[in-house]
């Protein structure tokens, strides 16, 4: 015979103001199997929990129903309380009479009636609850960092510092990411390369860190503590172990007209190349789209000049499989394509550039060796117009609805640097709002306006039209003065919105992590779990989670590392016992469950069964790996024969709840 205790919480006035809690406790006290029914002001408080604990001991309870807030809030609290009083924690059920009742109703009579019904459903379920025991699963002491930008590098360095092996997978030939392309950093104006490249070298020299450059994640299996990842090492046609990075091949290659992506296509590289001088690993890569030898078998110059014998035209993609306990996603961002913004003449006027292109134009290692010249005629620009929010805060469907966050600050930086270096240049900045939250950020912007006399004009640019004399007519509105402006500019710089890297979405599918509508990874809780994804063991670092500047990215990278280290420190992790299982006598082996399982937890095996008349039969049946199963229940509804069931949420328990509600 069941002995069930019911505990109705007032939650101060949160519940008690709309639900007659005494009436609920009274009504539920008459339900079959209920031996004690009480109400209390704050059931989650120390004394409230003691009420539950004492009742379990005193009345020898076999089940507990707490009518309170959402199980997300305090299910764990009451499970722990029950466990400390000697009751299996999975014999506790929560009836949510706050979020699903008192908060959404105004009429006391109907809210009370509903609370009683919800309580009844929980009682009906707890009648069928069975004690469950958690299992343990071991943790592989190695982490994977996907993306080798500043976020990935920082995360990897921190994890390695704690003594764990880390692998970085970077899709480009070198680590460094976007920060390597940036000239100076705000608000201190120190050189990006000077602070980034030592970290890149540190990562490559750390014996705990393995860098898989020019590689991609091609498959992810497993679960927290025990992921199996396949890494595709793309053919670079150069043996990484032999190449010394001398660069002779990159000088001798006769294929000179390959757009240099590191310099945003503003100059050319060879078909065999090292992206930039401080690349890590400093290994050449052959671009098969341009290499004459790979395209039609005629050339072979690089192979001839390479004294190390590192060139290998026959190299193919290789696949490496490795086990990891934790995965950190650091896939970063890209500026959006501006082909939908013809009003800014970007696609046909070379002197209209994006901010990242301007970074390269101003960089000492850039196409002009650090002298700011117009791309069209290599002359010095005297009037430069910056346009903010190109594709950001955009409601027309062409761009992004969100604020890209970094543009206000880097534009202030660009404006300041130009005025500092070329005081004869007039700089205009058109903005919707100037947003500068951050340490020393607003001071920085004020300096651009007050000290460097940059013309900040509130208003958007309507049209950019190149003129026959090489100048550019910028038509804009000054919203504060209420007038239309025409500026005769030499260059226009567009602060293009940033978006997550295109590799993020297929990766999210492989990792079974969530993304928002903009393809940014979703954190487990926007305030309280900002660097964890909702999928256990997957952590988020940098701009893949949302637009971020460098200080924020590095802070988040270290936070993600701390979370990953916290996981890797454990020898084993406790698994959720509310997992699926298959009744082998009913299983048809049809694979419906396997197909819908998002975690790959279901496998099939041929098993021998005893059949009538002393015969045996081999049947294909499903088995669930309880360490992989996350208890989502998709298999239980896909199973045509009803063989799949979920511990703690069995079909019979759910039917009992429905019956209790419909009674």
């Amino acid at each position: 015979m069941q002995r069930i205790g019911v505990f109705v919480c007032h939650c101060g006035t949160n519940i008690a103001a709309t639900v007659d809690v005494k009436a609920v406790a009274e009504a539920l006290g008459h339900e079959a199997g209920v031996v004690i029914s009480q109400d209390y002001q704050y059931m989650c408080s120390e004394s409230g929990q003691n009420l539950v604990k004492n009742a379990i001991k005193e009345h020898k309870l076999t089940g507990v129903v707490v009518c309170s807030c959402s199980p997300r809030m305090h299910e764990n609290t009451f499970r722990k309380a029950a466990a400390s009083a000697g009751l299996n924690p999975y014999l506790v059920e929560i009836a949510n009479i706050r979020e699903q009742c008192s908060w959404i109703h105004k009429d006391i009579a109907s809210a009370t009636e509903k609370a009683i019904i919800l309580g009844r459903a929980a009682i009906a379920k707890v009648h069928l609850n069975t004690p469950l025991t958690s299992m343990e699963s071991p943790v592989v002491k190695r982490a994977l960092v996907i993306g080798g930008g500043i976020a990935g590098i920082q995360t990897a360095l921190d994890i390695a510092e704690a003594g764990f092996e880390v692998d970085i997978v970077e899709k480009e030939p070198t680590i460094g990411g976007k920060m390597a392309q940036i000239d100076k950093t705000f608000p201190t104006l120190d050189c990006a390369a000077c602070i980034l490249t030592p970290k890149m070298v540190e990562a490559s020299q750390n014996e705990k860190i393995t860098i898989h450059s020019f590689s991609e994640v091609s498959d992810v299996k497993g679960f927290v503590g025990n992921f199996t990842v396949t890494i595709k090492k793309k053919a670079r046609y150069v043996d990484e172990t032999k190449c010394t990075g001398c660069g002779l091949c990159t000088e001798k290659c006769p294929m000179k007209k390959v757009p240099n992506e590191f310099n945003m296509g503003l100059d050319n590289r060879r078909a065999v190349y090292i992206p930039f001088a401080q690349a890590v690993p400093k290994v050449a890569t052959i671009d098969p789209n341009y290499c004459m030898m790979l395209k039609n078998g005629k050339c072979g110059v690089c192979s001839k000049v390479c004294s190390a014998g590192a060139i290998d035209y026959k190299q193919t993609d290789r696949f490496v499989e490795q086990k990891y306990g934790a995965i950190v996603v650091a896939t970063g961002f890209n500026p959006i394509k501006l082909d939908k913004y013809d009003e800014f003449a970007y696609s046909y006027c070379p002197d209209v550039v994006t901010s990242l292109e301007l970074e390269r134009l101003m960089n000492a290692a850039g196409p002009n060796g650090g002298t700011l010249l117009r791309p069209s005629d290599k002359t010095h620009p005297h009037t430069i117009v910056f346009v903010q929010c190109v594709g950001s805060r955009c409601d027309d469907g062409k761009g992004k609805q969100y604020c890209s966050k970094i543009c206000c600050m880097y534009t202030a930086k660009h404006a300041m640097l130009i005025r500092e270096k070329y005081p004869d240049t007039e700089v205009y900045v058109f903005y919707i709002d100037v947003r500068t939250p951050g340490k020393n950020f607003d001071e920085f912007y004020r300096r651009a306006v007050e000290q460097y006399n940059v013309h900040y004009i509130k208003g958007m640019v309507g049209k950019v039209s190149p003129k026959a004399d090489g100048k550019i007519d910028v038509q804009a509105s000054d919203l504060l003065a209420g007038e239309q402006l025409h500026i005769n500019a030499d260059m226009v710089v567009l602060a293009a919105a940033i978006e997550p890297d295109k590799t993020a979405r297929p990766l999210a599918t492989m990792l079974t992590t969530q993304m928002d509508t903009n393809d940014f990874f979703t954190e487990a809780h926007p305030k309280l779990r900002p660097v964890e994804s909702a999928t256990a063991g997957i952590f988020l670092s940098g701009a893949c989670q949302g637009p971020k500047d460098i200080p924020e990215t590095v802070a988040q990278a270290s936070a993600a590392a701390a979370k990953a280290i916290g996981l890797l420190c454990k020898n084993s992790i406790t698994c959720n016992p509310c997992v699926a299982h298959s009744d082998e006598l009913m299983c048809n082996g049809c694979s419906a469950c396997e197909k819908v399982c998002p975690y790959g937890a279901i496998t099939y095996q041929d098993k021998e069964f005893r059949m009538p008349n002393r015969t045996t039969a081999v049947r294909r049946v499903a088995s669930v790996n309880p360490a992989v199963c996350q208890g989502c229940g998709a298999c239980t509804v896909a199973c045509p024969s009803g063989a799949m069931d979920l511990n703690g949420f069995s079909n019979s328990q759910i039917m009992a709840e429905v019956d209790a509600i419909c009674k």
Binding site: L585, M586, C587, N588, G589, C590, S591, A592, K595, V596, Y604, A617, V618, R619, R620, A638, P640, S641, G642, S652, M655
Partner: protein, 323 residues
């Protein structure tokens, strides 16, 4: 045709390719054809039959037969190959243990349609240029072939074999059938009219379970209607309609897996048009998730077991149910 099939079956038995043959044999009456397994040339020559009445889909029998010792030869009509594929896909039939010979399909004859003309005491039925010459104990009768075509064949979806090891006769094409016309008509009814239609039809049900037992999608090791744990077996009906929920539950159970072979309606002794329930699901799946034919292949993912980012929103599904 029958001779060619027997000849080939005897060959395959003799050369050891197979040790059994799945086909049909005649019962008490000429039109009374049942599936049968043959193991010798003598049995084949004596009993094997394939004529205008051999409608039965042999695929479901292969669930058990393909698990026995040795390989079995099965003669499959185009529609049967869809069921066969679906069962292979669900790992119910072990493909390696079956040698499939594709044979041309219907149209096949429905004896009930002949009897409905008042023709009884039938001894034999001959098809002469699409006129049926029917010998009865009372004399000879004739009727047009087209008036006796089985309901399952009149909405034929395909003359193409989607699985076979060899063919006897030519392969056909997927047909542009009118099989959803009646479903569309039901959809256009008011909910009350539709309810009345189904209550009228389903009230005839005697729960003989023939539809379930013949259905190639119903191969569960332990059927939900026979399982005491399911809570619905042997359940006393609370009202006159609850018993008919059997058919609704069954239609849901086979949704996305039903190949529309039409066996359920064919075997129903009460002539309930059960296939319409399944066709409604097929039509909905086609309209909501794009054309999908269960059993057309053994690898594709069924729409109801799959998720694509461009799947229609639940609200679209909801709106379709609102009058």
């Amino acid at each position: 045709m029958q001779e060619a099939m027997i000849k080939r079956a005897v060959q395959l038995l003799a050369d050891g390719t197979v040790n059994r043959v799945m086909g049909w044999k005649r019962g008490e009456f000429v039109y009374d054809i049942t599936p049968a397994v043959f193991t010798t040339a003598e049995e084949l020559e004596k009993d094997f039959v394939c004529d205008d009445f051999t409608q039965a889909n042999l695929s479901k029998y292969l669930v058990k037969e393909s698990r026995k010792e040795g390989k079995i030869l099965a003669f499959l009509k185009p529609c049967d190959t869809y069921s066969f594929n679906q069962l292979v896909k669900e790992h119910r039939i072990i493909r390696e243990n079956v040698y499939v010979i594709g044979i041309p399909g219907g149209p096949k004859l429905d004896i009930e349609k002949i009897k409905a003309k008042g023709i009884t005491g039938i001894l034999s039925v001959e098809n002469e240029n699409y006129t049926l010459k029917i010998e009865t104990i009372y004399g000879t009768e004739t009727m047009p072939f087209s008036e006796a075509v089985s309901g399952k064949c009149s909405g034929c979806k395909s003359k193409k074999h989607v699985a076979y090891d060899e063919l006897i006769g030519d392969d056909g094409e997927v047909l542009d059938s009118n099989r959803f016309d009646m479903v569309a008509k039901l959809e256009n009814m008011t909910s009350q009219e539709r309810f009345d239609f189904w209550r009228g039809e389903l009230s005839k049900c005697i729960r003989c379970n023939a539809c379930r037992n013949v259905c190639p999608a119903c191969t569960c090791e332990n059927c939900v209607f026979d399982n005491p744990k399911s809570g619905i077996d042997q359940k006393a009906a609370a009202d006159s309609f609850e018993e008919k929920m059997f058919h609704i539950i069954r239609a849901f159970h086979v949704a996305g897996r039903c190949t529309d072979c039409g066996e359920c309606s064919r075997v129903c002794p009460q002539n309930i048009p059960l296939h319409l329930l399944n066709r409604k699901f097929i039509k909905d799946i086609n309209e909501l998730y794009g054309e999908y034919q269960a059993g057309a292949d053994t690898t594709s993912r069924a729409p109801l077991n799959n998720y694509n980012a461009d799947d229609c929103e639940p609200s679209v599904v909801h709106e379709r149910g609102v009058e």
